[in-house]
């Protein structure tokens, strides 16, 4: 059972009753993340070292699966709409710009929802935007969930940019789509590769990217910073240092927890660049 402990806070409330109604007393937030547990001495150091290593490994594992991207999302979505189509379902209610559907095809695919495919003026420039809110259940019973927008476009500066928002998953797909992703991630192309901004969760990693990628001054290296959510719900910071995928993991208070490297990050960025700059 998962009962939360009974908190003696009501006693504190009683003690505070003499104060003016509505006033809140200062609170010790006790906000230390799990990774910075309160063990003492060597045990604490060992535990922290292990947790730091696990954190880097978890992020690396996500990178190895591939960074969520709008091309994978939209192509997979359009592919399954076409694959399951029996000539009338869902195509009879669709145009090239999309449409809504609620039908089961003779192919065994069941379709429900809508999508649209449009050229739009996005904040970064002109983009092809695939908007979707649908599910497709294939004959094996697996469900493709699409809920969000997948945008690919050209910036006013002449480079590409990509944005993936919402939730996307198809358990029989490959790469990040297999376990799915929840994303609000933007990638922008530069002469040396993509730069990532925004948040995404996939492969058990919840990450916020702050200009992470191949900044031109780094040459082939990487720069930027990430926020990484630990399993306990706290957020840890990682500034990539010296144009390497390495840095010091910090807790929310800025205290250093340990060093490590995201060895899979450079290759993940290269793969993303290859995929999105086509």
């Amino acid at each position: 059972m998962h009962h939360a402990p009974v908190h003696p806070v009501f006693i504190a409330v009683l003690a505070a009753c003499s104060g003016p109604e509505g006033a809140t007393s200062p609170v010790d937030t006790g906000a230390a993340p799990d990774i910075a547990n309160h063990l003492d001495g060597t045990a604490a150091d060992d535990a922290m070292e292990r947790n730091v290593a696990e954190t880097f490994a978890a992020v690396d594992a996500a990178m190895a699966v591939g960074i969520p991207d709008p091309r994978t999302a939209s192509e997979a979505a359009l592919a399954i709409l076409e694959l399951g189509d029996d000539g009338t379902c869902p195509s009879s209610t669709l145009s090239e710009q999309g449409g809504s559907f609620e039908c089961t095809a003779t192919t065994g695919y069941a379709f429900s929802g809508f999508f649209s495919l449009m050229e739009l003026e996005e904040p970064n420039g002109q983009a092809e935007v695939f908007s979707a809110d649908f599910l497709v259940i294939d004959p094996a019973g697996e469900t493709f969930h699409a809920g969000g927008r997948a945008s690919l476009g050209q910036t006013t500066g002449g480079s590409w940019y990509a944005n993936l928002t919402g939730s996307w998953v198809y358990p029989v797909a490959e790469g990040w789509l297999e376990d799915g992703a929840s994303s609000n991630l933007t990638a922008e192309g530069t002469s040396t590769g993509p730069i990532l901004t925004g948040s995404a969760r996939w492969a058990d990693a919840s990450l916020n990217f702050h200009q992470v990628g191949a900044e031109e001054s780094c040459g082939d290296g990487v720069s930027g910073s990430l926020d990484v959510r630990d399993p306990g719900g706290g957020w840890l910071g990682l500034d990539l240092e010296d144009c390497t995928p390495c840095g010091v993991l910090q807790d929310a208070a800025g205290e250093a927890l340990g060093e490590g490297c995201l060895d899979a990050l450079p290759d993940a960025l290269v793969a993303l660049d290859e995929r999105l700059s086509q």
Binding site: V6, G147, G166, S182, G233
Partner: protein, 552 residues
């Protein structure tokens, strides 16, 4: 003599609760109001408590017992606080305030592949999730703080099959389980059910949810504050409204509080409002987005928090949280809002809650001891404000009408799988005086035309069902007419005994000779016209729609 402090008064209560402790008035009871109220007599008070705490009428034996010894009211009430029926009753009582038992959400039943006839079960499952967590906390005598700190929720097999929950496979019913999507431990604040009811949009950005939190958890309703927009810039455009929120004093006065709370809720912020995966799964990666989007630091009334989990802890420590629990449960059982001059009562009830380590049952016990709860009438010279606000006669809410008549007669008023008194698309919940949480947000306090019509239909259906089952088909039923046959007539012992017992059980009032004679005459007239079964149906219909039956 110096009056004791509130805290001391609370301690005195704890020390003297072997039988019926004195009412927790605090040290300044509004004597005028106490003097102008007359308590219900013991059987009627017992009836009120039974319906409020269990949703069913007291048994004849229970009524007989308190008629003989009124002190037994307290004992029976304490027994009922441990009755399994309390949990279900609390769900409905809490729904009147939390408004989550709605008939529709942004995500529709068909989004999960449910057929239309399954919609009611699905929507109620969603809406009851937070209510059942709160009810479970109460019945298991856990601290009310767990309402905002628990790392669990309460879900049934429908939710377990479709949401990221560790609901045990193959089991059914409401069970305490945990989400598996990484959401923080924050009790009802981490439930889908709450945030599906209080949804948000790209522009609102959780502000409405934050306002709901302050209203529900600390009884601060920012929407009730008077705000002048006379000098505000153009509010019709998104840009104008955003600027006003940040700079216009009339707007800032609320939004300076709401935005930091709203920023803690971004794990529940959907990027596609009507998409299932966006709505039913927590998004931990968005937790930090709120501060950036709203331009504030996450906080609760100035106390910084590192996220929703810590927000729950901080709310639990806010003195207003316990006080709001006392006020809202008092209002629920008093069947009216708490008046400004009753704040001493609420303070005393709050102290009762605090001294009980946040357990709600002692609070409920204390509320049933207050004059406002026990009031059955007011004196002729009572002050106008008391006459205006006090509910000495209270309409039975639809859920109590339903459960009490079902227990009494075995009658279930449904269309398909939908109880008509619990739904508003096909049913009559609002017409019966209930709360749907959207269109109607407070229970009906005064009788009305539709309320009377629903009561008449319900009474007729229940009476016909009981008569047909037990007297015509001679099936056991619920033994409402045990010992009676259609051959019995007024003056026969089974007839007279049954009639007197029915009146006693349904109204907790002993009928006088004149009343019995009138009912005999009615039965005889109907029997002559349509037979004994129709006569009993008419008689029972009359009793079930009697004003003393449909009120407490």
């Amino acid at each position: 003599m110096r009056a004791p402090s509130l805290a001391m008064a609370g301690l005195a209560l704890v020390g003297s609760c072997t039988t019926e402790p004195p009412p927790p008035y605090g040290d300044a009871p509004p004597q005028a109001q106490v003097e102008h109220r007359q308590d219900l007599d013991a059987p009627r008070l017992l009836r009120r408590m039974s319906l409020d705490l269990r949703g069913v009428l007291p048994s004849v034996e229970e009524l007989d017992a308190v008629e003989a010894d009124p002190a037994l009211v307290a004992d029976l009430r304490d027994t009922w606080l441990d009755d399994p029926l309390l949990e279900e009753r609390l769900v409905h009582l809490l729904a009147e305030r939390w408004h989550t038992r709605t008939d529709a959400f942004d995500i529709e039943h068909y989004d999960y592949g449910f057929e239309d006839h399954e919609a009611y079960a699905w929507y109620r499952s969603v809406g009851e999730e937070p209510l059942r967590l709160m009810a479970r906390v109460v019945v298991e005598d856990r601290s009310w703080t767990e309402v905002v700190t628990a790392d669990t929720t309460v879900a049934n097999e429908l939710l377990g099959a479709h949401w990221p929950l560790d609901y045990p496979e193959g089991e059914t019913g409401w069970q305490e389980v945990a989400y598996t999507d990484g959401r923080p431990a924050a009790g009802v604040l981490a439930t889908n059910g709450l945030w599906w009811r209080y949804s948000t949009s790209a522009f609102n950005q959780n502000r409405g949810r934050a306002a709901a939190m302050t209203r529900l958890l600390i009884c601060e309703d920012v929407l009730s504050r008077p705000v002048s927009f006379a000098d505000a810039p153009n509010l019709l455009s998104d840009e104008g409204a955003a600027e006003a929120i940040a700079t216009e004093p009339a707007c800032v006065s609320c939004h300076a509080t709401l935005e930091p709370i709203a920023a803690t809720l971004y794990g529940f912020f959907p990027l596609e409002q009507y998409n299932v995966a966006e709505a039913d799964t927590y998004h931990p990666e968005r937790e930090l987005q709120g501060e950036a989007d709203l331009g504030v630091t996450r906080a609760w009334y100035g106390t910084p928090v590192d996220g929703l989990g810590e927000l729950g802890q901080v709310i639990a420590e806010d003195p207003r949280f316990a006080r709001c629990a006392a006020e809202s449960f008092a209002a629920a059982l008093w069947r009216r809002e708490v008046a400004l001059d009753e704040q001493a009562h609420i303070d005393a009830l709050r102290d009762e809650l605090v001294l009980a380590d946040g357990r709600i049952k002692p609070l409920l016990r204390a509320i049933t001891q207050t004059p406002a709860y026990r009031a059955g009438s007011l004196s002729d010279d009572a002050p106008a404000d008391l006459l205006d606000r006090e509910r000495t006669i209270r309409l039975l809410p639809p859920d109590v009408l339903r459960s009490s008549l079902e227990a009494l007669t075995g009658f279930r008023w449904t269309t398909g799988d939908v109880p008509l008194l619990d739904e508003d698309s096909d049913g009559v919940r609002i017409l019966a005086g209930g709360v749907d949480g959207e269109e109607v947000q407070t229970p009906q306090e005064e009788p009305g035309l539709t309320w009377a019509l629903v009561g008449a239909e319900l009474a007729e259906g229940a009476a016909a069902h009981a008569v047909q089952t037990e007297l015509v088909a001679e099936e056991p039923g619920v033994q409402l007419f045990a010992g009676l046959t259609l051959d019995d007539r007024p003056g026969d012992t089974p007839f007279d005994g049954t009639l007197e017992q029915l009146i006693w059980q349904t109204t907790a009032t002993r009928p006088d000779a004149q009343r019995l004679d009138e009912l005999h005459q009615l039965w005889l007239a109907m029997e002559a016209d349509a037979g004994a079964a129709e006569a009993w149906t008419a008689l029972l219909t009359l009793l079930l729609r009697d004003p003393e039956m449909v009120t407490t």
